[in-house]
Symmetry: C2
Subunit: 882 residues, 2 copies
């Protein structure tokens, strides 16, 4: 017969080694501590399988469970030398939930179970009457709340009334009456009133402790499906069918007097990671008292004064547990009449910074290996420490929140107009650009701003993508903001924030604060640098950066980028002069002539300088330059006024421009006349860009540099496009004698390109997966529009995550196919990923499996990518799941 | 050594059986006729391999060719009993091009080669002086034109002048002077003048016949690359590297006197297909005289009177050739002094109607088998006979032309406004709706029109797709039309066409005519019906129709559809009342309430009637109903006025509607909030539609019908969507007890759905490939915008065809994957194609190979699909290439 219940205590640990999936985290810890001979009160664990059975079988228990529970309860009685329900020396137990992963506060627990009108008397004798009735009323309230579903407030109200009469008696204000002011009689009164509350509801706490026990066990399993637990699992992606275990443990009491107490300790400082025992202790109290925050506990270090011997014991136990688990532990303990009991140990939560320091320190101490250290740092946490962030413990209440779109925190004056943002910045003021949504014309203002805040759009809206590209904090889609750009203010409920007011945004949390909120600054030094160097030892694929400017290229290089995987060229067309020259080119594209040639030469010279800057910053490393991608209409004005201005400036008829604007309009611009398609109809642009790249290369070589540009074509679908354009580009390079030196490759960002990669690879030196567009086309999701329904998909778990954040399986399949097919016809083909996913740890793991040579991420995500790429190699080595 | 030259004549045929690829069509025919002992003048063929060599080797000839030519020329001399360049009895030859496929008039030919100032005298003796100098001037002009590149006009001008002096001499008008009026002296004068023309250009016709011959052979190979031949090959997709052969054949003369002549004959009537010898004959003439149209030839039947014996011979030869080739032949012949010579035979061109009749007749005659007959009919031609079409031989000059978007011809009054089109139709007038482009709001007007004409958009624009769906002729993207919709006229150059003028459009050719042009009407009877019945015997996959109305369903069924593969439901929402009810539903989607429920019920009742109609028309056959697909904004008004009207009508604030309009706007609607995504956020629509389908089914059953509806979800990307919606729909069907009867399947129209078909198939009873949208997403082509660059792709041969017309390889790969993956998890899965490609023969073949169960085409394309599907099976059987 299947075993459902495992005993621990008294040096026995039946469940030792069976793991958290079966025993839950708390249960596994208790068995392990018991096994190690550590002081754990005796008890037993009912497995998660029982929970699963419970839900699969219409909330009933498997046959034989009752016998097993009773049998194990007997063992507890024996170990503790007490008897359950014994009026003289009653055994009390706690009944606690404990899921495979910690879900703090989400499920229910009942303490002091076993008390009734008889046993409370026994308890009085064992300790004292005040303690016994205090325990009793706690039990009644918890049982009433958890099992009988009576609201806690109703009990609290009764307690408040008893305190009021006590206050009257003592002529004190009720606020000053503490629990410790109540005596045995008071607690008896409370017990009486609590029973009345329960009776009012037509309910009753059974006198029979066994009945109590069964009801409590059932309630614990029931609590697995309470709404907040379901919600929590949704957020943290914990499967509903894992279930919780239920631990029944003999009570030990921290509230038996001043020689007792309760506390928690961490084996290292969870904020900084320093190797010091850290924690809190509350004398004469039960665990909930710490959680409830009614009394202020003392720092653990004070225990040394309270009882140096116990402090010694605690430090010793902490070290033993850490050495045993090879992991920083969060330990709950109770001291009952000077005897230390361990009630729980688990992996301690910590700040991102502490996570890194602990991993590095433990490796240095020899507790774990270097690769274990690398695997222990969550890349998402690494990302957090690399941006200025807000320590929420010291932050005020946020004003509102939106979607965290680009990590980091920024403070500045609110400005609504991009031009104004630029002007204020010039005037030395830091600004936050607040817009309903942004468009390419806002680039200048976005570049000037410390951070971007929008009320529309998702994680892959224009604002979000550009901000991440610029490494600037951004909060987008903050829908509670009513923005009036024209009049220069926004409101959130009754609060109005006007131009010039100071706000702080946190792009890591999505929170928006009034005023300047202090930030924690990032650094790539110390343990962070160390863990990344270790990561590089294990990493098997390259990490490059997506960077469009020399400044970004430098940041990326400092962050360890081994080249540029994507240098977009379109932003280079948007500067004040440049846009006019480019518009001139567009206008005279058909007729050509002097104006056209002059404008083209000017843009070429700008581009040449841009390219020189980037190539210099990445000297000696590959720089993949993507030729112009966006549709022409993005460069044309749309408003009457602007069209007029353009006509005047370029000396053409307004009608001409209007026709052009009309003709370049598109119903689905994402699938429109852009990328390599532009060059098929208008090859001059790519020829000009190729010339600028060639000239920049030759000039830098003369200056003694070692530039390594590669040319990349966007939006290729057909092998014929590649063949056609490659020829054109190679012919252009030939004029500079660079045709054998500068490689020509393509983005793979359309399903056809991946499906037909064997054909395309014949004409490409490299592939770079543009997984943003590939996600759009593969899933048929426009990232500009997906906000309208994606939330429902997430809500209903129709997608596991935002597919623009973490790459979708279908897209991965195309990456795999493209890698295999591409290499089948071109052995030398280099394959990378330069979409947003190139900086997403989960996605990086999948790309690694698919066989890419490198990933390319935005500069601030380069360290994250280095770590994630290393973890991917290590995980594959160890065969572990993601 | 490789053989480059093949002799024929005198019962010998060296090249017999070597085929058209090597000998060209003309050459292969000559060798075959010679082999069969038919009267062919002796000659030889220089192979297409020489042409390929010529272009690959800088226009030089392979070693040994010269010797081979001279050797074969000797054989011709022997066979003919004449000598090349002999002043007494000179051999004259023709030098003719002849490619593997016929390219009529595209390449060059030189006749009478071998003439010079000496041999012309010999020829005079052999025949007469007039004939000899007439032949000489013909040679000089052809050689001057083809070899020396002197424009023909210059020669014509000289001839004109000689005719003018002749006219003066005869006191006649020059117009009345015919070639036959010129005598030997006149032709000598012409010869003199022609030589002067040539001299003026500093050129010269060599006196040496061998030199003439080499120059002529070279000119024939050069003509393979003349611009019009290149253009022709582009249009007919003939590879440039096939090359032409060159035939050197002894001249025979039809212009030796009244006992001579020349003609062409078809073994059956090429217009009607009737089994009668058909052709033309011109006594005392050379072949070019017929082509040039200078004299009117007599019908072949008249030859019986001219010479009954020769007529007998011709009929006999025609029958022999047809029996030999088992194909209708187009034969050139010359009669030289009562002796019949065959100069060429080839497969005769014929009208679509004749093609079908000939195939059927030949099968019945036992000349070919039934399956050969089925394979001989070009499905594209079948399509032509199934729409009213314009017999271009009897049509006036077109006014303009556009893209042929939906086949068939239509005549009507020009109307620019859809409302007006509807009103005119109600008033009993036939109209052609002329729009810059159409949008879903124009549906009513489109439905009322006989045909649609637009100046923008391509074969897959809204106008084109809707028109094809409605089976209405459409010409789109007629860019030379300047349409002024507001003022109600359009112009083409100087011609103005106003509202109320009558035009005719031919959606098969793209031509637009002024006035009413007579049309040939289609029928599914006689040979057409017969060939389709035979096709059905060989066909292995099903053919269904895309039809949205009972009328279309009926047409489709009459055309042989075995069910409906796609019944779109969106058009059902656009009627006058319906749109208001649907708008009400949208407006109150959040708040619900009485108005909402009432509107929903009304739409449901409309839909129920629609579904009943379609199900009745397809009684007993499957009808796949696709639930609502388009984004909600398509149903909302956009103009201020309309918004106001809507607000008043529905009794809500204007602001509410504006916000809704604003909120439903999308940047890339194709990738937006539509299809199943609508139902994820707004399930009521699909529930309502499911109820309507269920109720229609139950009502029809009561009435004794056998309805077989299936429910299809559009735009599914994720298996989770399918699981979620399937459950919802099955629950809804359960209320009617139909949950086991009505299947639920999905469109496969996004790459992810095909890539993950194994996951999706677990929740789908059937797949239907929506290859329109799948093409859009796989290639990243918006069919609304692709017109901006696709022409360049076609021009540069970057795509073989419009991928929305004939399915792209990448899309086919997804179909293959989806079929394999889908069946791997669901054996019973039924798989079809319902995109436009379902009616395209080339695509059908690919789908058949990919393993689909059926294709679904628009009603008028159902017969085409039946034929193409049969051919696909037969081609696979015989292992032939597409």
């Amino acid at each position: 017969m299947k075993k459902f219940v495992y005993f621990f205590g008294n040096g026995i640990a039946e469940g030792f080694g069976l793991g958290k999936m079966l025993l839950g985290g708390k249960g596994a810890g208790l068995h392990e501590m018991a096994n190690a001979g550590l002081p754990v009160p005796p008890g037993f664990t009912i497995t998660t399988e029982v929970c699963s059975y419970y839900y699969k079988n219409n909330k009933s228990f498997p046959a034989g469970l009752e016998d097993e529970v009773l049998e194990n309860l007997k063992k507890v009685e024996e170990a503790k030398g007490q008897k359950f329900g014994d009026p003289e020396n009653p055994l009390l137990v706690s009944v606690r939930s404990g899921a495979p992963v910690s879900m703090p506060g989400m499920m229910d627990t009942i303490l002091n179970l076993g008390l009734n009108d008889e046993t409370v008397k026994g308890l009085s004798k064992m300790a004292n009457e005040r303690f016994a009735y205090d325990s009793y009323r706690r039990f009644l309230q918890m049982f009433g709340d958890v099992v009988l579903k009576i609201k806690k407030d109703e009990f609290d109200r009764e307690l408040e009334e008893v305190k009021m009469s006590k206050a009257a008696k003592l002529s004190k204000d009720v606020k000053d009456i503490k629990d410790t002011d109540l005596d045995a009689e008071d607690w008896k009164e409370v017990v009486k009133r609590f029973k009345e509350v329960i009776k009012r509801h037509g309910k009753k706490v059974p006198e029979d402790p066994y009945e109590q026990l069964w009801m409590a066990i059932k309630a614990v399993f029931d609590s697995w499906m309470n709404p907040r637990a379901i919600e929590y699992r949704k957020i943290y992606k914990i499967p509903d069918d894992w279930g919780t275990a239920c631990n029944v443990v003999a009570m030990v009491f921290g509230n038996l007097g001043d020689d007792s107490g309760t506390g928690v300790m961490f084996t290292r400082d969870p904020s900084t990671g320093e190797k010091v025992i850290f924690g809190e202790f509350l004398p004469n109290a039960q665990g909930e008292d710490i959680v409830a925050g009614i009394r202020t506990p003392m720092p653990l270090s004070k225990v040394k004064e309270w009882d140096p011997d116990i402090y010694e014991q605690l430090v010793d136990l902490a070290n033993k547990l850490e050495n045993y688990y090879k992991e920083m532990q969060d330990i709950e303990f109770t001291i009952e009449r000077k005897k230390v009991w361990l009630l729980q140990t688990r992996k301690g939560k910590r700040t991102p910074k502490a996570e890194i320091k602990i991993a590095v320190d433990m490796a240095k101490e020899g507790l774990i290996t270097k690769d274990e250290a690398v695997l222990r740092v969550d890349p998402y946490n690494l990302e957090k420490v690399l941006h200025p962030y807000i320590d929420e413990r010291n932050a005020p209440e946020p004003l509102a929140s939106g979607i965290p779109a680009s990590p980091g925190a920024a403070t500045g004056y609110v400005v609504f107009d991009p031009e104004e943002a630029h002007a204020w910045k010039e005037g030395g003021k830091k600004v936050i650009l607040v817009r309903t949504e942004t468009s390419p014309e806002d680039i200048k203002g976005m570049a000037a701003a410390e951070g971007i805040l929008t009320s529309r759009g998702g994680k892959t809206s224009h604002a979000a993508v550009v901000a991440r590209g610029m490494g600037k904090p951004a909060v987008v889609g903050a829908e509670s903001l009513n923005i009036n750009e024209k009049e220069g203010f926004f409101t959130v409920g009754n609060i109005k924030v006007s131009k010039g007011d100071v706000i702080t945004i946190d792009g890591s949390s999505g929170k928006i604060y009034l005023g300047d909120v202090p930030k924690v600054m990032p650094e790539l030094t110390g343990e962070v640098a160390e863990i990344l160097n270790w990561a590089d030892e294990f990493r098997k694929i390259g990490v490059r950066a997506n960077a469009d400017t020399p400044k970004d290229a430098e940041i990326a290089r400092n962050f360890g980028a081994e080249g540029i995987g994507l240098a977009r060229t379109e932003h280079m067309f948007f500067g004040e002069d440049r846009i006019w020259n480019f518009r001139t080119m567009i206008i005279f594209a058909e007729s050509k002539g002097e104006n056209y040639e002059r404008a083209k030469e000017k843009i070429k010279s700008y581009q040449r300088e841009d390219f020189k800057g980037i190539l210099k910053a990445m000297d000696g490393l590959p720089v993949i330059i993507r030729l112009l991608d966006p549709p022409l209409h993005e460069f044309l004005p749309t408003e009457e006024e602007q069209i007029k201005e353009m006509a005047q400036k370029l000396g053409v008829e307004e009608k001409l421009i209007k026709t052009l604007v009309e003709n370049t309009k598109e119903i689905n611009p994402m699938l429109g006349h852009r990328g390599v398609r532009l060059a098929i109809t208008f090859p001059d642009i790519y020829i000009m860009q190729t010339e600028a790249i060639a000239e920049a290369t030759l000039e830098l070589k003369k200056e003694g540099y070692n530039p390594k540009p590669k040319i990349m074509l966007p939006l290729v679908a057909f092998e014929t496009e590649m063949e056609y354009m490659r020829k054109l580009i190679k012919e252009t390079l030939q004029k500079y004698g660079l045709e054998n030196e500068i490689e020509v490759g393509t983005m793979i960002e359309l399903p056809r390109a991946a499906l037909m990669a064997d054909r395309i690879a014949k004409f490409a030196d490299f592939f770079s997966y543009g997984t943003n567009d590939l996600t759009q086309t593969t899933l048929g999701f426009s990232r500009d529009d997906v906000g309208k329904f994606l939330y429902k998909y997430l809500e209903n778990k129709l997608v596991p995550e935002d597919p623009f954040q973490s790459v979708d399986d279908g897209v991965v399949k195309l990456v795999e196919m493209g890698v295999k097919l591409g290499r089948s016809t071109n052995e030398k083909l280099e394959i990378g990923v330069c979409g947003e996913h190139g900086g997403d740890p989960k996605s990086i793991y999948k790309f690694y499996e698919a066989g890419v040579d490198y990933v390319s991420a935005s500069p601030y995500r380069v360290p994250v990518a280095r770590l994630a790429a290393a973890q991917a190699s290590l995980k594959q080595l160890t065969g572990a799941a993601t």
